[in-house]
């Protein structure tokens, strides 16, 4: 069972690596990180802060793009190319297929993020010719970016099992935006003084993934470390929510009629 899941994950990873879009995104991310060094020079006294903010934002944004655009095509592409029937005709369960796909893309993102992180730390070293103790904060921020990406891949996978390619991408992006504004949405609800609206916004607040929990780039730029309890609690939150998203995707895919 594990062997089959890992085979699908490995295949998904290879498929993603072969995808030229992936390389373009990495090149763009490197360019952006390099540009942050130049950008820092036209500002006043915040070169390092700009480098961290721009570098980590580049890792996050390009990771987000990869997660959405490859995530939504994970299942859709296999159906569209009819390769899914080949796979499912072999002794592979549907849930194994979905889980393998999820893990494969997660591995892709992990490798991409690791490459971009290496580039980012190279830029940091280039700027000061040394590393500082506060640079550990950036590593924590990269870990949080990965947690966020794990959730976004989950959302993309879920929509990929339900909807078309374009619609899945749009919906995933919408969830990302809403997931960043949940606190405001809840506040708006309470401001309307309507019990119904307030109840709906509170329900959404607890139902949807809260991406703002993983936004620590700003504090990493100032070298602020994340307290241990937050590292643990948010890792658990991401793990739990990713499990929910993958389980929901499996349930939907199990019920889906493939023609």
């Amino acid at each position: 069972m594990i062997h089959r899941i890992l085979s699908i994950a490995r295949h998904t990873f290879k498929q993603s690596v072969r995808d030229k879009v992936l390389y373009n995104l990495i090149v763009f991310a490197f360019l952006l990180i390099g540009a942050s060094i130049l950008f820092g020079k036209i500002s006043v006294d915040i070169q390092r802060i700009i480098l961290v903010n721009l570098g980590l934002s580049a890792i996050s944004i390009f990771g987000l793009l990869i997660a959405i655009f490859i995530g939504v095509s994970l299942v859709w592409r296999e159906i569209d190319r009819r390769t899914l029937y080949n796979i499912l005709s072999k002794p592979v369960a549907r849930w194994e297929f979905v889980l393998g796909k999820y893990l494969g893309l997660l591995l892709t993102l992990l490798v991409n993020t690791a490459i971009m992180a290496a580039g980012f730390y190279l830029a940091l070293f280039y700027q000061d010719r040394r590393f500082q103790a506060q640079d550990v904060a950036s590593l924590e921020a990269i870990y949080f970016i990965l947690l966020e990406l794990a959730l976004i891949v989950g959302v993309a996978l879920l929509f990929s099992c339900i909807s078309s390619l374009t619609l899945s991408a749009v919906l995933t992006f919408c969830i990302f935006i809403i997931g960043n504004l949940l606190a405001d949405i809840r506040w708006f609800g309470s401001e309307t003084h309507s019990t119904l609206v307030s109840a709906i916004t509170t329900f959404l607040y607890y139902l949807l993934p809260n991406f703002s929990l993983f936004n620590v780039i700003g504090s990493a730029a100032h070298g602020d470390r994340i307290p241990g309890h937050l590292l643990i609690s948010r890792s658990l939150y991401a793990l739990l929510y990713a499990a929910i998203l993958v389980s929901a995707s499996i349930l939907i895919f199990e019920e889906r009629e493939l023609q």
Binding site: I42, S57, D184, I217
Partner: protein, 300 residues
Amino acid sequence: MKLQEALPRPRQLPRGLLWATLVAALAAQSVLRWAAGSVQAGSAAATTPLYVSSGKLLRDLSLGYEGLLADIYWTRAVQYYGRERLSGHPRFDLLGPLLRITTTLDPHLIIAYRFGAVFLAEKPPGGAGQPAEALQLLRRGIVANPQYWRLWQDLGFIYYWDLHDYRAAARVFRAGSERPGAEIWMKTLAAAVAAKGGDLRTSQVLWAQIYRATEDETVRKSALAHLEALKAAQDLEELDRVLVFYEKQAGHRAGSLKDLVRSGLLGRLPLDPSGIPYIVAPDGKATLGPGSPIDLRLIH
């Protein structure tokens, strides 16, 4: 004969011509861009629009990338300040809003408070001449970064240089000197400014604290010199009052302080903290004796 060979081959465009066209077009567009740039630069300092003036809204819209947005707004504020300053007719209308947005997006961007306050407080044409706005910016910075004592220092300087409110400056320097990690000279600054504002008593208390607390011999000597100057200034004030009283009673000015001793107004000849007797100056006021090492300029 194969069909492909029978068909006439489509005429190929000469590659050299294509390359030449490409290079010429690139050069031509660069000239056009240069001309357009000259027109823009030649027009009056273009007003920079501020499409979104709410930092809070921008923070929400940034989707977690508020740090990056803050850096962009800070760079924009710096560029705006520089451009306006060089324009010949500087107007800094947008400087305050740009700094407010920057610090709302990233409340810990210390540089935006520190440099921003200088840009705002400095008199035109070097700055916006808005010390009140600068004070507001720094106070917000202090609320967001209560441990950062240098913001108190900047706040004190605005009171001192731009508003000439020495008492307020001294209060601020003193409050800042009590923040963790604050340099000892913040206390000396508070003491010196308090003296300048005429608050000799506060100044004396602060210098005494510095004298007791410091382990640096230079600072200790400086504190002692200030304490002696303050004591001398207080003595001279008191002696002036006695001299005025003497003049009223005797009907003439005292020639020296010995007259006051002889009249019984003083028990003995008063000495300054260094042990040298005070004297009466030609204008009839008490002053330091010749050779006294005390430097009254330290407190004025």
